[in-house]
């Protein structure tokens, strides 16, 4: 048996939620609109129409790049990327080729730093739908989505596991939501992931002399193939697709084959990746500078200005929560996943600190009791927790009986939790609270539950 290093690079596309499209004044919010009702000569690719770029979309793209620690090009331009497909009205996509807006950034994950190769802006295509009209297979085309600003974020092949890929994508989405530039809704397609996956066979270093550093890609050599997996519309599917691919490729390599360089799609009903029908001719995009759009030049003071518009980002807040309020990492990470939640938590912690309540308990409350942050004020929440903890049943003996009963009653929650779905504990806490008619001290309940669940494992 050989050892393999998993090599993963991600390409993420996100639609920006600007008011208008990338190169024309049509509304960019296209979801659920009747077909072909949000078009104009530009995004419908009519003869003679010309693109004029959306200033905000450019600024937001730069913001995204800066949030991922990228450098901003002082000079950038658009290019035409040519291919024929019915959803591409001009026969070319206005994209960026060799002068992307941003390049050479990174994003840290718990398994190491992931390099960002580039961040560029382009236009989205129309949407295809397959149907049968009087017995023949047809494709329907809707151009409402055509021309919506689309940012592409490409990583280096630095990701080493499915879990890291998932974490990276989640962190990426969280940052984009903090920037308030995209809905990042994977089901609606405003965030799309593609993973390039390959396996590198590990040889004894002495023999082949290429150092393999699992955290940062200092690989002197990459595998001579890669498999691109598309059609991934949730983080869970991405994880599954990568795990499936790793196994599939491993089997091939073990039996002496090099996996074919190809594009595969995730089939969610079968839980497998499937080779996509490849067109016979290889793609040749024939990029050249878009003659209809003058180039872009950004001076340092402009870039500074854009940079100053970037709000505090989740990773920074997360480490602040841990350092300042002594929160457990798992809580901190959950609380910063959404900006509004992070703000709420931050306010609650300030209050807790002044009232002498442990912020970690408050955090547990917010997460496990699914506090409605729009309705309950942080001050009221903390006051409530304080008063409850003072009048609560804190006797572990009494609480233990409720805990036992809750564990018996909710075996699914128990097994979910033990499989790593840590949120499942909130159902158990809820059950205990119900049994105690609200009188149990939540902190004690949580501690007992955690102890119980980890000891009853296996």
């Amino acid at each position: 048996m050989n050892n393999y290093t998993t090599i993963i690079g991600l390409e993420t596309h996100v639609e920006l939620k600007t008011a208008s499209k990338m190169f024309c004044g049509c509304p960019s919010n296209h979801f659920g609109k009747p077909p072909n009702t949000q078009t104009c000569p530009v995004c419908l690719g009519l003869p003679g129409a010309l693109p004029v770029p959306n200033k905000k979309a450019i600024e937001w793209s730069l913001m995204i790049g800066l949030a991922f620690n990228c450098k901003v090009s002082n000079f950038s331009k658009f290019d035409r990327k040519h291919y024929f497909y019915p959803d591409l009205p001009k026969g070319y996509q206005i994209s960026q080729y060799d002068e992307p807006l941003c390049y050479e950034g990174y994003l840290d994950t718990s398994e190491g730093r992931v390099g960002i190769t580039r961040v560029h802006i382009e236009e989205d295509t129309g949407k295809l739908q397959h149907t049968t009209i009087s017995g023949s297979d047809m494709t329907l085309v809707d151009f409402n989505r055509s021309g919506v600003p689309l940012v592409e974020i490409v990583t280096e092949p630095d990701i080493r596991s499915a879990a890291q890929a998932k974490e990276f994508a989640q962190r990426l989405r969280s940052i984009l939501r903090y920037l308030n530039v995209s809905d990042c809704d994977m089901e609606k397609g405003s965030m799309r992931l593609e993973a390039n996956i390959s396996l590198l066979q590990e040889f004894p270093i002495s023999k082949f002399q290429f150092p393999i550093n699992k955290n940062k890609s200092q690989l002197t050599k990459l595998p001579n193939y890669k498999v691109e997996v598309k059609n991934i519309n949730s983080f869970r599917f991405m994880e599954k697709a990568i795990l499936f691919e790793v196994e599939r490729q491993k089997k091939l390599l073990e039996s002496g084959y090099t996996p074919k360089q190809e594009t595969r799609g995730w089939n969610e009903s079968k839980n497998i990746t499937v080779a996509q029908r490849s067109k016979e001719t290889a793609a040749d995009y024939r990029y050249f500078p878009e003659p209809d759009i003058p180039p872009m030049v950004f001076d340092d003071s402009y870039i500074k200005g854009v940079s100053s518009k970037i709000p505090e980002l989740p990773q920074k807040i997360e480490s602040l929560f841990i350092k300042k309020y002594n929160l457990r990492q798992q809580y901190a990470a959950l609380l910063v996943s959404e900006k509004s939640l992070a703000l709420y938590a931050s306010d609650s912690f300030k209050e807790a600190a002044s009232l002498g309540v442990d912020p970690d308990i408050v955090a547990g409350y917010i997460i496990n009791q699914k506090i409605n942050i729009d309705k309950v004020k942080p001050q009221d929440l903390v006051k409530d927790i304080k008063s409850k903890s003072e009048s609560k049943v804190g006797d572990t003996k009494v609480i233990e009986t409720w805990v036992d009963e809750a564990v018996k009653n909710l075996p699914q929650a128990v097994s979910d939790y033990q499989k790593g779905k840590l949120n499942a504990i909130s159902a158990l806490v809820g059950k205990v609270m119900q049994l105690s008619k609200g009188s149990a001290d939540a902190k004690v309940v949580l501690n007992l539950l955690e102890k119980k669940l980890s000891s009853s494992k296996n």
Binding site: P41, G45, L46, G48, R80
Partner: protein, 472 residues
């Protein structure tokens, strides 16, 4: 009424109330009825033109400088609800949902779109022979080519089927047919006039420009169509004053260069002589004139061919027959050739050798012009290497257009303005003088052309050949 009047004269008559918009439209429709079939100028005549003329009651003024004036439009400009074909069967039945900015500006100035004129299909040519609707005829000798691609517009003006017309030039497509038809053709600076709604040929080259009977008329139209267009990111915000105010300023303060390398070695010496006489006239009018060395214009053929075909291959990708028009098998031979060559010059492995190399030589031309125009206000040379050749010569000539346009290609790839004015005849066919200058020198170009025109009478000669009745 007569249809051989200049725009300026027509405007005068309208202002004095001596003619009405309706009189004008009727007169041009009659002229069209009489000669269009023979010359193949219009692909579509605007059926609403009479109704439109009837709605016009005011007189041309500063706000509506062209009120009531019918104008012919090359069938490459989109006209809302009026068929637009690019002279290609691909767009045989295409009815645009919007109008080009130039058309809108003309209409907002009060002009009436008389009809859509013939061209080389997609502007691919310098003969109007590649039109899928048959060639337009040269009125000076109907066995000869009118030039192209704005051949229909040039002939419309030369034969009084319109008082003025709009064309587009990628390289030579306005000035060339103007020269071969004995009229005035102005190619403005790239970016001076909006391309929005003009079916794209070479996006970094295309310049809409007027074809007119006089230099003054060209200035009148440029006043209307020039300017920044929010829908065309490549239009210039550079300000301009009323171009007609420039005309009388004369050439006394100007340094004019004769572009020595534009008098090609194998060129008809009669053409060269006409240019030299023009130079002498400028000297007489007070300009300082020298013979000037420039980069050999023949290198521009290669640059232009590569850039134009690369851009053509891209621009014609949208014609897939899904949203409008017919599918790609309806492209004619010339379009197919250009698309394929452009596809090749952009393809992996050849992009650097052809596309990039051409764009570098393009820089050499721009640098060379910058150097020359530091010392000289303008350059002059012939517009075309010779008079209009016979119909049919383009057969099997893969490069006819690019070779014919050798003298306008350097300015086109550099985005510079130029004008062609009639400067004599060779073998009974008109010859054009090309006056060109640095970016945004339209004012100086127009006044130089005007000074020349006022001191000569070439522009007063009218073709008669097309009026001959052929008795079989």
């Amino acid at each position: 009424m007569k249809t051989d009047l200049s725009l300026r004269k027509i405007i005068g008559l309208l202002q004095k109330g001596e003619v009405s918009a309706l009189d004008l439209v009727k007169a041009y429709l009659e002229q069209i009825e009489a000669y269009n079939k023979k010359l193949n100028v219009y692909l579509s005549v605007n059926t609403k033109v009479l109704a439109l003329a009837k709605t016009i009651h005011g007189k041309p003024d500063a706000r509506y400088p062209l009120l009531g004036i019918p104008i012919a439009i090359k069938d490459i400009f989109l006209t809302k609800n009026l068929r637009t074909t690019a002279a290609s069967l691909v767009l045989d039945d295409y009815i645009p949902a919007y109008s080009a900015t130039v058309v809108t500006k003309l209409e907002e100035a009060g002009a009436i779109v008389l009809g859509k004129t013939n061209l080389d299909a997609w502007c691919h040519g310098s003969s109007t022979e590649t039109s899928d609707y048959g060639p337009t005829k040269n009125p000076w000798n109907i066995n000869h080519l009118p030039g192209g691609s704005s051949g229909g517009s040039a002939v419309a003006v030369a034969t009084d089927l319109a008082p003025a017309a709009m064309g587009t030039e990628t390289a030579g497509s306005v000035r060339g047919p103007a020269a071969w038809c004995g009229i005035v053709g102005l190619k403005p600076t790239y970016g001076r006039v909006s391309r929005y709604g003009v079916i794209a040929m070479g996006s970094s080259l295309d310049s809409p420009g007027p074809l007119t009977k006089t230099v003054e008329d060209a200035a009148i139209i440029l006043n209307v169509i020039a300017g920044k267009d929010p829908n065309d990111a490549t239009t210039s915000p550079t300000n301009f004053d009323d171009y007609t105010n420039e005309l009388e300023k004369g050439v006394k303060d100007l340094k004019i260069g004769i572009a020595r390398d534009y008098l090609l070695p194998n060129m008809d010496s009669k053409v060269k002589d006409l240019i030299i006489s023009a130079a002498k006239l400028f000297e007489k009018l007070g300009a300082k004139v020298d013979l000037v060395k420039t980069l050999d214009p023949r290198f521009a053929i290669s640059v232009y061919t590569v850039v134009q075909r690369s851009e053509v291959s891209s621009n014609l990708s949208r014609y897939d027959g899904i949203r409008y028009g017919r599918d790609r098998k309806y492209f004619g031979q010339e379009a197919k050739r250009r698309i394929m060559l452009g596809t090749f010059t952009l393809s992996t492995g050849y992009h650097d050798k052809y596309y990039k190399k051409a764009q570098k030589v393009r820089t050499l031309f721009i640098d060379d012009f910058n150097k020359v125009f530091k010392k000289y206000d303008l350059l002059i040379g012939p517009t075309m290497p010779g008079p209009a050749p016979k119909i049919g010569v383009t057969e099997g000539q893969a490069m006819f257009g690019e070779m014919a346009d050798v003298l306008t290609e350097p300015t086109s790839i550099s985005g510079l303005p130029g004008i062609s004015v009639p400067c004599g005849f060779v073998d009974g066919l008109p010859i054009g003088l090309n006056i060109f200058g640095p970016q945004f020198s339209e004012g100086i170009i127009l006044r130089t052309a005007y000074a020349y025109e006022q001191s000569t009478s070439w522009h007063k000669q009218k073709p008669v050949d097309f009026k001959k009745v052929i008795i079989l």
